[in-house]
Assembly symmetry: C2
Homo-oligomer: 153 residues x 2
């Protein structure tokens, strides 16, 4: 599964500096790799790239169209307990996120909320007590060493 990875997620944004400040407030580390038209923020094992919305559409050769609120996918941050979810959700809203669904008990036994970033990109924050994470915070549902209560965070 060596190709099964997401190295980088590129978000089309209206204002690079506004978005960079938003994600820095959530703990992403701005790197020196960007320039005036792109910002790269380092997270655990992957990079968040901020790029002009029209620039991204043009790069893919697609027409920029008005975007609906629901865009068919969500990016999820899984954390180790409910309190961490509440804390990050509050930080996101304080930094300019739109609170889509406040964190609450989920039908699948965890705790989850959704926010939209300043450009409407949808994020879920979730604590799933059944999902083991490794020491780096990476979600791993298959490695034998990552399962078991001692690996859950």
């Amino acid at each position: 599964m060596k190709d099964a990875r997401i190295s980088l997620v590129t978000l089309g944004v209206a204002d690079l500096e506004r978005s960079a400040a938003f994600y820095e407030a959530l703990g992403w580390e701005r790197t020196s790799a960007g320039n005036e038209s792109v910002v790269f923020l380092q997270g655990a094992g992957l990079v968040l790239s901020l790029f002009g919305l029209a620039d991204l559409a043009a790069d893919a050769g697609l027409a920029p169209e008005p975007l609906p609120r629901f865009r068919g996918l969500s990016l999820a941050v899984n954390l180790g307990d409910d309190a961490a979810i509440d804390r990050l959700f509050e930080a996101a809203v304080a930094a300019g996120a739109h609170p889509v669904k406040p964190p609450q008990r989920a039908f699948w036994g965890g705790y989850s909320g959704y926010f939209a970033d300043p450009d409407g990109h949808l994020w879920e924050l979730a604590h799933n007590p059944f999902f083991p994470m490794d020491e780096r915070g990476h979600l791993d549902l298959v490695s034998p060493g990552s399962t078991g209560p001692e690996a859950a965070v």
Copy 2:
């Protein structure tokens, strides 16, 4: 930056089995953690979750609307050379992807292409010779140990 992570990306899909087969063809490992309404596929350090499009909208409390071709973001797989990009792009198209932009030399000095998955989710495949990856294939632009030619793949 401990909260700066993407643990899981949830894609809203029309047909769970069709999408599961598509991503398995690209190397994602289907796990036993799913059920009849959700499929979890393991990648390097994160999980791809397939969920009904309407289910995902409902979970976030958003209205499902017709989705444009360009949805404001892309998920990128970075690989170590141009040939790997060509190979994965061809595998994706063979598995049912829509070829949005065939891999080609990019203005920033790398090699990049875009495809849309069977539900229109936009992926970029890129070889960026300036981006170091660690031994697990994770993109890391800040750790001192990850930079330098010996770490580039």
